[in-house]
Symmetry: C2
Subunit: 241 residues, 2 copies
């Protein structure tokens, strides 16, 4: 076994995973425009309506992972994600908070739920994530959730910047993001522990990195579809008579 193929230590493996942050969708030009306050009303609405599709598929994705997981202790922890998004007891959950964000941005609840604004490119990217969770092992699917390592920055950025940059958005619409910052940290610890434990050989560790890259590709691809539609004004079939 050469030095090149020796497994990374736990610390080095974690560092390799975290180094993928450079591909996080925070660096997509759509997010840069968003951060700089340069998106107009329709561009914000388009983003919310399309991100909504991702949000509603998260519990589906997590249920697929549960259905592939024979370990009860893991399921007890992983189930929390479904409770977070669908809600439980008095907590209306993340999907409802996202609907509130959409309403604060001037969208109708029914329009959001109908998915009429969801772009095909966004649908295909998000569905790729769900299908991966259905077909991969539960540990591979847990690894694909690790973009959550990078999410707190983007949530904090929105909390800090949106009230000033987009004053027309009712500020209680940001409730979703306030809640997600603390949940994401807890989720990451679990997903990271599974990943560091499961992917042992160098080949397996590289596979884990490829899985994380796949997930990053999904997030970037979603914004590419939104860029074409809302920034370039080239939504599907724009050139058709």
């Amino acid at each position: 076994m050469t030095t090149d193929s020796a497994p990374w230590s736990r610390e080095e493996f974690e560092a390799q995973l975290r180094a993928k942050e450079k591909y996080y969708h925070i660096y997509h030009p759509y997010h840069e425009l968003m951060r700089e306050g340069k998106l107009d009303r329709l561009q914000i609405q388009g983003w919310v309506a399309n991100r909504f599709y991702y949000q509603i598929k998260i519990p589906i994705k997590d249920a697929a992972i549960l259905s592939n997981c024979p370990d009860r202790d893991t399921r007890r922890l992983w189930l929390q994600r479904i409770l977070d998004h669908d809600g439980y007891g008095d907590d209306p959950g993340g999907i409802e908070a996202w609907l509130q964000l959409g309403i604060a941005c001037g969208l109708e609840r029914d329009a959001l739920l109908s998915l009429q604004h969801v772009l095909p490119g966004v649908r295909f990217a998000v569905d790729a994530y769900v299908n991966f969770a259905r077909n991969a092992s539960w540990q591979e699917a847990a690894c694909s959730s690790l973009t959550e390592m990078f999410a707190p920055t983007i949530h904090k950025e929105r909390l800090a910047g949106w009230p000033e940059k987009y004053p027309w958005i009712a500020e209680d619409g940001l409730k979703y993001f306030r809640k997600r910052v603390s949940q994401a940290s807890r989720d990451v610890e679990h997903g990271l522990a599974i990943t560091l434990e499961h992917f042992k050989t160098r080949e397996q560790q590289q596979h884990a990195l490829n899985i994380l890259q796949f997930k990053l590709d999904i997030l970037w691809s979603m914004l590419d579809a939104m860029w074409m539609a809302y920034i370039e004004n080239k939504p599907p079939y724009f050139s058709v008579d």
Copy 2:
């Protein structure tokens, strides 16, 4: 039952399916540039390398359909598609012809087969087609193949226009297209017969139209991803340091 919900006649249903031609990717601006001879070498190569992913997934998709089809007579006919693409006996098949096209455009065989040039957005769109074929009924999947009704025009256009517009492409690279024109007509007859027979009520007929639209969305979405990468020069992570 009101007039609005009465099933369309066979003729009217077929006309409704054919009317979807207005959304065919022949009208995408990428294809318009291609037709006008305005694509450069890299833009042609990018298109071939990405379309190659679609081509290699067709036999996978058709095998998924076979695996959902309990009707032996249908399978005997549908299997021909796999023979066409993978090849049989002395016929090297459509995938080999597509490799020859890539080589004629200056790409290396290994580079094409490695899929290194396949854009995430293209991958997600094509995989959506394969996953649909896996999970839908064989008749629904047969309906999704009906964009073949519109394909002969695009094949003839390339046969007519490419030697003049792109003289640097070795003309025997167009072998694939010459072969596909006749095969597509035969395939369409079978797919159309299945569709006209299976989708009976107005609701089912509308569902068939939605399936065809889904497939049109896939083809358009593939070109959107290529447009971002090769025309806008915004491939994935272009803005990352």
